[in-house]
C-alpha cells in the first residue's frame, strides 16, 4: 500500500523509499513517519526488509529511490546519502557490539569524543544511573550479563543525545524473563530522554509494549502502519490478520450491510462492513472472540487443549469441518473429545 505524509510535526519521515541490492529489491515504496516523542516499530517475519530499511535510515545502505529526512533535513534520496557519522542517529544492535577492549565508562563515552572530559564523565554517570548500572564504570563488557550488556549498549547509543534512536532486534538474544523486564524499561528510558525511536522486531509483544505506531512489513512492503490496537483489531489485509496474534478464517456469505451468515451462525457487526449483499467473504475470528459457555446451543468438539494458567485455549471442531480457537476460564477443565458449548462475542467483523 502507498501512503504519504506531509512534513508538519513529523520528525522522521520515510517517503516512498525503495532499496535494492543489485537487481534484487529488498524494500519497495515504503512510507512512514515518527513524530517527536514517539516510538515506531517495524514488525515482520525475517527477510521482510525491516532491518534493511532500518540500516538505510542509519546510513549503512543507500536508497534506490525515495527520501528519508529527519527534522526537515534530508538524510538520503536516490542520489545523495549523508554518511552515517554525520546523521546524529544512534543505533542499538542485535549482537550488542560493546567494544570488548575498553571498559564500560569508555564504551558509554565513545560517542562523546568531542565533549570536554568533565562533561563526558558527568554524562556517563547520568546514563549509568538511568540504566541502573552506576558503579560499573571500570568493569569490562565480558564481566557483564547479557541484560547488563544490552543496557550499556543503550546507554552508549543515547549518550550523544541522538535525534533518533534505531533499535535492531535488541532483545532477540535475551531470554524471555529478561526481555519482559527490559522492554518496558527501554521504552521508559527513551520517553524520559525524549528521544524518538524506531524498533525492528519480529516479536509482536515487544512491538505492542514499546511502540505508538507499528508498521507490519511483508516482502519489502508495509502492509499496515497503525496503532497496535488497530493492527490487532482492524487488520488491513489477510497477511496482517494472520501474522498478528492467532485466529482462523471462516468462509461466509454476506447477508446484509452489517451481517454475514457463517457456519457458526448469523454474525453481526456494530458498523457497516462495506461488502455487497450476496458476496462470498471470509470472516476472521480471534481466540478471544470465541468463549466457552456451558449450555450454549452452538457446540464444538475439543481436538486439542493448552493450559495457560489464567485460562484454557481449546481448539474446537465445529460444523463438521471448521476449527476455531476458544478461550475458557481456567476452572473449566474439559477432556479432549468432549463436546462443549461455545459463544461468539464479536463487536465488529474482520471481513476479507
Amino acid at each position: 500500500m502507498t501512503m504519504s505524509f506531509d512534513n508538519s510535526d513529523h520528525h522522521l519521515l520515510v517517503n516512498k523509499v525503495s532499496i535494492a541490492y543489485g537487481q534484487h529489491t529488498i524494500v519497495q515504496d515504503v512510507s512512514l513517519a515518527v513524530a517527536v516523542g514517539e516510538i515506531g516499530c517495524l514488525l515482520g517475519p525475517s527477510g521482510c526488509g525491516k532491518s534493511t530499511l532500518l540500516r538505510a535510515i542509519a546510513g549503512f545502505v543507500p536508497l534506490k529511490s525515495g527520501t528519508i529526512s529527519l527534522a526537515n533535513k534530508i538524510l538520503a534520496n536516490d542520489n545523495f546519502c549523508l554518511p552515517a557519522e554525520n546523521r546524529n542517529v544512534g543505533m542499538v544492535f542485535q549482537d550488542v557490539a560493546l567494544f570488548p577492549h575498553i571498559d564500560i565508562a569508555a564504551n558509554v563515552a565513545f560517542g562523546l569524543h568531542h565533549w570536554p572530559k568533565p562533561q563526558q564523565m558527568q554524562r556517563v554517570e547520568e546514563l549509568l544511573d538511568l540504566v541502573g548500572l552506576n558503579g560499573y564504570q571500570d568493569r569490562y563488557p565480558h564481566a557483564l550479563s547479557g541484560g547488563q550488556q544490552q543496557r550499556i549498549a543503550l546507554a552508549r547509543a543515547i549518550a550523544p543525545k541522538p535525534s533518533l534512536l534505531l533499535l535492531d532486534e535488541p532483545f532477540s538474544g535475551l531470554d524471555a524473563m529478561l526481555r519482559e523486564e527490559l522492554v518496558p524499561e527501554v521504552s521508559a528510558i527513551l520517553r524520559h530522554e525524549k528521544i524518538p525511536g524506531l524498533l525492528v522486531t519480529h516479536d509482536q509483544t515487544e512491538a505492542f509494549t514499546m511502540a505508538d505506531h507499528v508498521a507490519v512489513m511483508n516482502q519489502g512492503r508495509i502492509e499496515q502502519w497503525d496503532t497496535a490496537y488497530n493492527i490487532y483489531h482492524k487488520p488491513d489485509g489477510r497477511f496482517v490478520a494472520d501474522f498478528i496474534g492467532e485466529g482462523d478464517f471462516l468462509a461466509c456469505n454476506v447477508s446484509s450491510t452489517t451481517c454475514v451468515e457463517s457456519p457458526i451462525g448469523h454474525l453481526c457487526s456494530d458498523r457497516i462492513h462495506g461488502f455487497a449483499v450476496g458476496d462470498k467473504a471470509e470472516v476472521f475470528i480471534r481466540p478471544d472472540d470465541v468463549l466457552h459457555l456451558d449450555g450454549s446451543p452452538i457446540t464444538g468438539r475439543i481436538i486439542s487443549k493448552r493450559f495457560r494458567g489464567t485460562h484454557f485455549l481449546y481448539r474446537v471442531l465445529i460444523a463438521g469441518n471448521q476449527t476455531l480457537y476458544c478461550f475458557a476460564d481456567s476452572h473449566h477443565n474439559h477432556e479432549i473429545g468432549e463436546e462443549i458449548g461455545i459463544k461468539l462475542s464479536l463487536d465488529h467483523l474482520m471481513l476479507f
Binding site: 554525520n86 544512534g90 543505533m91 549482537d95 557490539a97 570488548p100 550488556q149
Partner: protein, 546 residues
C-alpha cells in the same frame, strides 16, 4: 573409562622424560660456571646478543608489515581476488626459511641470474655498480619475514573475522568516520591476537639456524653450533642454549598472556553479516598489490626458481635420492606415530583424571613447540652421552664388546628430539578432537549397555579419527622440514632430505639442492592447505557468500 592410576602415572613419567632436555638446559641458567660465562661474555656473547636482538626487531617489524595489512584487507574489504588471496597468502608457510634463504642467495648473488642480466644489459662489470648484499643481517631479516608473516596473518585475520561488523557501525553511528572507526576499534580489538602471532613468528626466528648460518649472521643458534662442533665444548654450548632459552621463555609468556587477553577481546557473538568494505579503482589495485608482494616474494619466486633448477639443471636423480627420501619419510613417519601415540596417552590421562599433576605434566610436555631445535639437541645429547658412558662402563665390567654410542649416536636421540619438539602440535590436535567427545556421550553409551571397550570402538575411534590423522600428518611434515636438531643428532652418515639440501647449498651446489628442497616445499603445502580448509569449515557462512 580406564579408571586406573596406571594411566596417570604413565602420563607423568612421559611428561618428565619429554621435559628432561629443557630442565637440563634450564639448569645451566642456575648453576652457571662463572669463568665460562666470563669467557663467553668477553668473546662472543655480545655479538650473538646484538645480532639476535636486531634479528628479532627486524623480523618483528617485517611480519607485522606483511601480515596485518593483508589480514585486514582479506577479512574486511572486497576487491578482485580477495577469496583467492585469503588462502594463497598462507603459502609461504610451506617454505622453510633455510630453503628460501639459499634460493634467493642463488638468484641475487654476483653469479646469479639477476646480476648477470644487469651486467649483460648494461655492459658494467664487477665493482662498477652497487647491488645489495643478500648475505647479511638485512637479508636474513627479509627472508625470515617472508616465510614467517603467515603466523601474524592467520591470527590477525581470525581476530578481524571474529569482530562484530556492528562494531564499526556503532563507531559510525556515534560520529566516527569509517577509517577512524577502524583505526580506533578494529586494530585495538585485534591487538592481542596480533601479538600472539608475532610471538610465534619470533620464536621461529630464534629457532632458525639455516638462514642465519647461510647468511653469515652470528646469533645464538650459530654460536651453539660453533661452540659444540668447533670447540667440542658441550658445557659452553649448553650455557649459550640457556641464554637463548631465557629469550624463548619471555616470548612464551608474552604469547600465553596475549592469548588469554584475546579471549576477552573477541566479541561475544560472531558477526551476523559480512558487510565488506567495497574497494574499487585505484584502491582495489593498491589492495591487490599489497597482497601480491608477500605472495610473489615469499612463494612464487622461490618455488618457481627451485622448480626450474630441479627440472632442468640439477643432476638427474639417482639411487641416492631414493635412499634419501626413504630415510626422511620413514624417520618422519616413525616420529609422527610415536609422538601422536604419546599425545593420545597424555590426553586420555587428562580426560580421565583432570588433576593438577597431569595438567602440569601436559603443560610441561607442550612447551617444546617454542624450543629451538638446537636447545633440544644439546639438552638431549648431555643426558644420553652420560647414559652411554655408564652403559659402556657396564659392558666393560661385564667384559662384553663395546656397543658404541647406543643412545646418543643412534636414531633414538633423533626420535627423542622430534618427540620433544612436536608433541605440542600433536597434543593440540588430539585434545581438540577429544574435547568434541563430551563425557555425556560416554554416559549415553554406557546407559545403553555398552562396556568401555565398546564405547571406545563405537564412539571414540570414529570421532577421533580425523584429529589423529591430522596430528600424524602435521608432525610428519614438521619432522621432514626440521633442520638444526637433525644436523646435531643424526647418526654418522645418515642423511635426510632437509640435511642434504642444506649441505649441498652450503657447498654452493644450489642447483643440486633443489630437488630435495622442492620435495620438502610440496609436502609442506599439505598441512597449509589443510589449515585453510579447516578455517573455511569453521566459518561456512562467510565463504558461501563470498
Amino acid at each position: 573409562m580406564f579408571k586406573s592410576h596406571g594411566l596417570s602415572i604413565f602420563a607423568v613419567v612421559i611428561a618428565a622424560f619429554i621435559s628432561l632436555p629443557v630442565i637440563i638446559i634450564a639448569s645451566y641458567l642456575v648453576k652457571a660456571d662463572g669463568a665460562l660465562w666470563q669467557h663467553l661474555f668477553d668473546t662472543v656473547l655480545n655479538e650473538y646478543l646484538v645480532n639476535s636482538l636486531l634479528l628479532l626487531l627486524g623480523v618483528g617489524a617485517g611480519v607485522l608489515l606483511l601480515g596485518v595489512p593483508t589480514a585486514w584487507l582479506t577479512s574486511m574489504c572486497s576487491f578482485p581476488g580477495r577469496r583467492w588471496f585469503s588462502w594463497a597468502l598462507l603459502l609461504p608457510l610451506a617454505v622453510p626459511a633455510y630453503i628460501i634463504a639459499y634460493t634467493y642467495a642463488g638468484l641475487l648473488d654476483f653469479a646469479g641470474p639477476v646480476q648477470t642480466w644487469i651486467r649483460e644489459f648494461t655492459g658494467l662489470s664487477y665493482g662498477d655498480y652497487w647491488f645489495f648484499e643478500i648475505r647479511s643481517l638485512g637479508g636474513a631479516i627479509t627472508m625470515l619475514s617472508l616465510v614467517l608473516y603467515p603466523y601474524v596473518y592467520l591470527m590477525a585475520r581470525a581476530a578481524f573475522l571474529e569482530q562484530s561488523v556492528s562494531s564499526i557501525e556503532v563507531g559510525c553511528s556515534l560520529g566516527y568516520s569509517r577509517w577512524r572507526a577502524i583505526w580506533s576499534l578494529a586494530l585495538p580489538m585485534a591487538r592481542p591476537a596480533i601479538i600472539a602471532g608475532l610471538s610465534l613468528a619470533l620464536m621461529e626466528t630464534l629457532a632458525d639456524y639455516g638462514t642465519v648460518q647461510y647468511y653469515g649472521v652470528s646469533t645464538f643458534t650459530t654460536g651453539i653450533f660453533r661452540t659444540f662442533y668447533g670447540f667440542g665444548d658441550a658445557a659452553a654450548a649448553a650455557q649459550l642454549a640457556a641464554s637463548l632459552l631465557a629469550f624463548v621463555i619471555l616470548l612464551v609468556l608474552l604469547e600465553r598472556y596475549s592469548r588469554r587477553q584475546a579471549r576477552y577481546h573477541s566479541a561475544a557473538e560472531s558477526r551476523a553479516r559480512a558487510d565488506l568494505i567495497p574497494l574499487v579503482g585505484s584502491k582495489a589495485i593498491m589492495a591487490v598489490a599489497i597482497c601480491l608482494v608477500p605472495l610473489i616474494l615469499g612463494f612464487i619466486i622461490p618455488a618457481t626458481q627451485l622448480l626450474l633448477w630441479a627440472l632442468f639443471e640439477a643432476e638427474p636423480l639417482g639411487w641416492d635420492f631414493v635412499v634419501l627420501a626413504w630415510n626422511s619419510f620413514s624417520l618422519a613417519f616413525l616420529a609422527a606415530i610415536i609422538t601422536v601415540l604419546l599425545a593420545i596417552i597424555l590426553s586420555y590421562a587428562k580426560r580421565t583424571k583432570p588433576i593438577k599433576p597431569i595438567n602440569t605434566a601436559i603443560t610441561m610436555a607442550g612447551f617444546g613447540y617454542a624450543l629451538p631445535g638446537t636447545i633440544i639437541a644439546i639438552g638431549i645429547l648431555i643426558p644420553l652421552a652420560w647414559a652411554d658412558h655408564k652403559l659402556m662402563a657396564l659392558f666393560e665390567y661385564m667384559s662384553w664388546d663395546s656397543p658404541g654410542l647406543l643412545l646418543s649416536g643412534s636414531l633414538v636421540a633423533l626420535l627423542f628430539a622430534y618427540t620433544v619438539r612436536f608433541l605440542a602440535v600433536a597434543l593440540g590436535s588430539v585434545q581438540s578432537g577429544l574435547e568434541k567427545i563430551k563425557p555425556s556421550l560416554d554416559h549415553a553409551g554406557g546407559s545403553m549397555g555398552h562396556n568401555p571397550l565398546a564405547i571406545l570402538r563405537k564412539i571414540h575411534v570414529p570421532l577421533m579419527r580425523g584429529s589423529i590423522l591430522t596430528a600424524v600428518l602435521i608432525v610428519f611434515v614438521d619432522v621432514l622440514k626440521e633442520l638444526p636438531a637433525t644436523l646435531i643428532l643424526r647418526p654418522f652418515n645418515f642423511n635426510t632430505m632437509a640435511v642434504r639440501a642444506y649441505e649441498l647449498a652450503s657447498d654452493e651446489r644450489l642447483v643440486d639442492a633443489a630437488p630435495a628442497s622442492i620435495m620438502i616445499v610440496i609436502v609442506g603445502l599439505i598441512p597449509v592447505l589443510m589449515l585453510h580448509a579447516s578455517i573455511t569449515r569453521r566459518r561456512p557462512h562467510l565463504h558461501e557468500k563470498f
